[in-house]
């Protein structure tokens, strides 16, 4: 469970890392070289990059896809189901881009409609009911912004999905595979551990959208991408992701098998830790993980002293790690 369970500089107490497991990158210094923000954007959007179903097929055994939101439609931009990870059943939900133009049209370029998030929620609840760990894969330019999405409550669906993940009583691991586009990504992004592939990105708005608004020109997207700090090492420094999963030297698109193997190792290691954490501690830790975000100044207010037995210490003790 990385940082929050074992305690790192990104937790409240600011102590150092424990030894890194599963070959994860938890410090930007571990990276030999750092790609530019714009290169990361290109890599994350590469159509040949491994997408969710491809990853699922390589990482898990006996994947059984489950369909539908039970109310309107089965959204092809979000896939989900049950599969085994090292013989242990888990629920999987992920955003699905296409590997070709045809598939991208069918998958709406990985931009879910509200019913996609409602399908996701149905599967989140299934995971909770049967205490199956939930693993989500993020890969979307964002929620579909068209009129049908508005009509059926895109905002409501995303809000409900975030709320549900925040309270879901089962372990959650989030993996950002490619593009993490804003609220449409966060709807799958509230987890106990948030991992990202080395060249994945995660941002509050697309670089093009940011450039159009702040620079009044989409052509400034490259500059916006840099300013937004959306690349893997940036996200690591910001604490938005807990660790990066290393990609093969040429990038994930050059070797799907090696990429999947790295994801599998990471998931297995994190899951083994998470499963030992009692429910109440896990829920506290998840709350604190997101509670801590924010660069603030508050003159005249001294920060309260850390509690003598903080949430993560309790967990470390009980988990025995």
């Amino acid at each position: 469970m990385l940082d929050r369970i074992t305690g790192t500089k990104r937790t409240v107490e600011g102590n150092g890392h424990l030894p890194v497991d599963a070959n994860l990158i938890t410090e930007p210094a571990q990276l030999v070289s750092r790609v530019s923000a714009w290169e990361a954007v290109q890599a994350a959007r590469n159509i040949q990059r491994p997408h969710t179903l491809d990853v699922i097929g390589r990482v898990f055994d006996r994947f059984n896809e489950l369909h539908g939101d039970r109310g309107f439609r089965d959204d092809p931009a979000i896939v989900g189901g049950i599969a085994d990870l090292d013989g242990r059943p888990v629920v999987i939900v992920g955003e699905q881009k296409g590997a070709s133009t045809e598939e991208n049209i069918a998958r709406n370029f990985g931009m879910p409609h509200p019913e996609g998030y409602r399908k996701a929620m149905r599967l989140y609840r299934l995971a909770e009911k049967f205490h199956l760990p939930l693993i989500t894969f993020i890969d979307t330019p964002g929620a579909y912004p068209g009129p049908e999405g508005e009509e059926r409550g895109q905002a409501e669906a995303i809000a409900q999905s975030i709320l549900l993940m925040a309270r879901l009583q089962t372990p959650i691991i989030v993996v950002i595979l490619g593009e993490g586009g804003s609220g449409g990504a966060l709807a799958l992004g509230v987890g106990d551990v948030v991992l990202a592939l080395q060249n994945a990105i995660y941002s509050v708005i697309s670089p093009e959208g940011c450039a159009a608004i702040l620079w009044r020109s989409p052509a400034e997207a490259e500059r916006a991408a840099k300013a937004m700090r959306l690349s893997g090492p940036d996200l690591l420094e910001l604490g938005v992701v807990d660790a990066l999963i290393p990609e093969p030297p040429g990038g994930a698109h050059t070797d799907h098998a090696a990429t999947a193997a790295a994801i599998r190792t990471a998931l297995a290691a994190q899951l083994a830790k998470l499963e030992r954490v009692p429910a109440a501690d896990l829920m506290s830790a998840r709350y604190e993980r997101f509670r801590a975000f924010g660069a603030l100044e508050e003159p005249g207010v001294t920060a309260p002293p850390p509690a003598p037995d903080s949430w993560w210490r309790r967990i470390v003790k009980r988990a025995g790690s």
Binding site: G146, E150, E156, V204, I205, F293, G294, A295
Partner: protein, 283 residues
């Protein structure tokens, strides 16, 4: 606001620091009278935007509001600069508005019901949600939980504050974590949506109230106009994304005219109040 003059009058008859033209019925409204009428057009009831302080005044029982966390100001998590550095933008907005950020929070009573109230102000950087908005709402929810009060949030926002990047995005999860606990404890949360509310604010707390009301004519949509028509290139029906459209589509409980807001919220809070006191039903 560009003034279109009624026939036969000259522009200088209505100096803009004294008069405002209603964009809905074109009536020229004397600013002082408009303010006295809660920024609602006296002729056609068009709802103009309203500042957070004025909003609080009309919502709470007289004199009951006590501000909290007033000193919180934004850091600069990304070191963000576009045409000028983010801290300079914040400072300029603070100077212009006299407020520290886009939200004011505090305790109050509404129809004698104890509440924690959070009111956004669109004038401060488009009501954008960064870490200050996130922190103040989260503290508001945590305080409501600790003191068993209801939570009322009035939204008015263009969405997440881009200059705080993913830290702004994370505020959505942070706030909703606190709202989840409030819900678990069966404490009421009323969401009041005002013009305009879009993006990450609509896609988080604004859409999650036990009761969700909006003001008449408010623009309420997930995507900004630009994004929706630009990205998809479809023509939108009239009234699309207005409160009345949302009501028909099932996302609002009611549209409530501004003068009735306090009483209406008070009615709901009173109805919900018994729950937390009835132990037979604790789950």
């Amino acid at each position: 606001m560009r003034l279109r003059m009624p026939f036969g009058r000259k522009p200088n008859e209505f100096p803009s620091h004294l008069w405002t033209q209603c964009p809905s019925c074109n009536e020229m409204l004397f600013n002082k009278q408009l303010a006295r009428n809660l920024n609602v057009c006296t002729k056609c009831e068009h709802h103009f935007r309203l500042g957070a302080r004025e909003r609080i005044e009309l919502l709470v029982d007289k004199g009951s509001f006590h501000e909290q966390d007033a000193a919180l100001t934004s850091g600069d998590p990304l070191g963000f600069t576009d045409s000028k550095p983010y801290p300079e933008r914040v400072a300029a907005a603070q100077t212009k508005s006299g407020e520290k950020d886009a939200i004011i929070t505090g305790e109050a009573t509404i129809g004698d019901n104890p509440v924690i109230l959070a009111v956004m102000d669109f004038e401060f950087m488009g009501g954008s949600m960064g870490a200050v908005v996130g922190e103040k709402i989260t503290r508001a929810a945590e305080r409501a939980l600790a003191e068993r009060r209801a939570l009322v949030i009035v939204s008015a926002s263009g969405g997440a504050r881009m200059q705080e990047g993913t830290i702004a995005l994370m505020q959505m999860a942070k706030i909703l974590g606190a709202l989840a606990r409030l819900d678990q404890a069966r404490l009421p949360y009323v969401s009041v949506i005002t013009d305009p509310t879009t993006g990450g604010v609509l896609a988080s707390y604004a859409s999650l109230g036990d009761i969700i009301v909006a003001e008449p004519g408010a623009l309420i949509r997930f995507s900004g106009e630009r994004v929706t028509s630009g990205t998809v290139g479809e023509k939108l029906p009239t009234g699309f994304g207005k409160a009345e459209f949302l009501l028909e589509r099932g996302f609002l409980d009611q549209i409530v005219p501004r003068p009735q807001l306090r009483e209406r919220i008070g009615f709901f809070l009173t109805a919900f109040r018994a729950a937390s006191q009835d132990l037979r039903w604790s789950l």
